[in-house]
């Protein structure tokens, strides 16, 4: 308000920037606060004694599991922008879809690596062909193909359109590969349902105190992923402007 009265001729772009969620800072600060809370409480919170099964490694719940939540969220945003692109044909929507998918892959790979580290000490070896491991790897490979596809088309409009369609396919494949198929078979993941399948984490293995760290951890990691993505989007917009596309 104050700013406007002092400077009556406020340019339209500045107005746009001020209203733009990408450039607001409150959620970035929130992300920092939540992650610092996670990183302190993640180590100090009381954990339940699970017959010595997981011991202290159950604290990975605050670091390994949110990677997948973050990946799923970023891929969801990506597919929404892919659909928006198909409806509007605006290059900006293509940038959004691309960069959200890119950061989503980064978090997915981090999830696989941290999962392998955990599995090495919990299941005996880093890769045991667990249905959930295989499913996640397949899902990520499908998303890698998204970038291969993009790289193979030189025409920008065509690339944006084809990759938007492929993005929808890749997102649809996420559901069987990481949500449905691993649950239909027995898995090493502690689902607690045995041969009935498993949801990935056993509700009986967590305590209310752990939930109080787990939820902030999810939100914090997701916001961090979104922040990294918005930086890349802004960079891409700048490059586009410089090249004179817009």
């Amino acid at each position: 308000m104050n700013l406007q009265t002092r400077m009556p001729a406020i340019p339209a772009w500045l107005q746009m920037q001020k209203n733009n969620m990408l450039r607001k800072s409150w959620w970035k600060i929130l992300s920092f606060v939540l992650l610092i809370y996670t990183c302190i409480m993640g180590f100090l919170v009381q954990i339940p004694v699970l017959d010595g099964r997981m011991q202290q490694s159950v604290r990975n719940l605050f670091f390994h599991v949110p990677m997948w939540f973050c990946m799923q969220t970023l891929f969801t945003v990506s597919v929404i922008y892919a659909i928006l692109y198909l409806r509007s044909q605006k290059p900006l929507h293509d940038h959004y879809a691309l960069e959200f998918a890119r950061t989503g892959i980064v978090f997915g790979v981090l999830g696989l690596i941290t999962g392998a580290i955990w599995a090495n000490y919990q299941w005996g070896k880093p890769w045991s062909g667990d249905p959930k491991q295989n499913g996640a790897a397949i899902a990520l490979l499908i998303y890698f193909a998204y970038f291969v596809l993009r790289g193979s088309v030189t025409d920008t409009d065509k690339r944006a359109r084809i990759s938007a369609v492929y993005n929808i396919f890749a997102y649809a494949m996420l559901f069987p590969t990481i949500w449905i198929l691993p649950r239909l078979t027995e898995s090493l993941h502690p689902g607690g349902l045995g041969s009935e399948g498993n949801p990935g984490l056993n509700p009986n293995d967590t305590s209310p105190q752990m939930e109080m760290v787990f939820l902030p951890a999810i939100i914090g990691w997701i916001l961090l992923g979104v922040w990294i993505t918005t930086l890349r989007i802004r960079l891409r917009i700048l490059i586009d402007k410089k090249l004179g596309y817009e």
Binding site: Q17, K28, L35, C39, F43, W227, I228, L231, L238, K241
Partner: protein, 76 residues
């Protein structure tokens, strides 16, 4: 200003070992005598992880500011 910051950082890190030295452990019993060594030295891990996360965030904030500056230049 940037030079000043750099010098301040160097001085700060040069003094870090003092903090390390003034904390110690009972050599006979291996019993911790300070906070950082209590609870199986878990606070050391906390300190490491907090440092990493803080570092990543400082890096991102800098990147954010640089991009913001470029965006402003673009429109001028």
């Amino acid at each position: 200003m940037n030079k000043l910051k750099a010098i301040a950082f160097i001085i700060f890190f040069c003094t870090m070992h003092i903090f390390a030295r003034c904390q110690n452990m009972d050599p006979k019993t291996e019993e911790p005598t300070d906070f950082m060594r209590s609870d199986g030295k878990i606070y050391v891990v906390v300190a490491v992880v907090v440092t990493i996360v803080t570092g990543i965030f400082i890096y991102l904030i800098n990147l954010d500011r640089k991009i913001k500056k470029l965006e402003k230049d673009q429109y001028k």
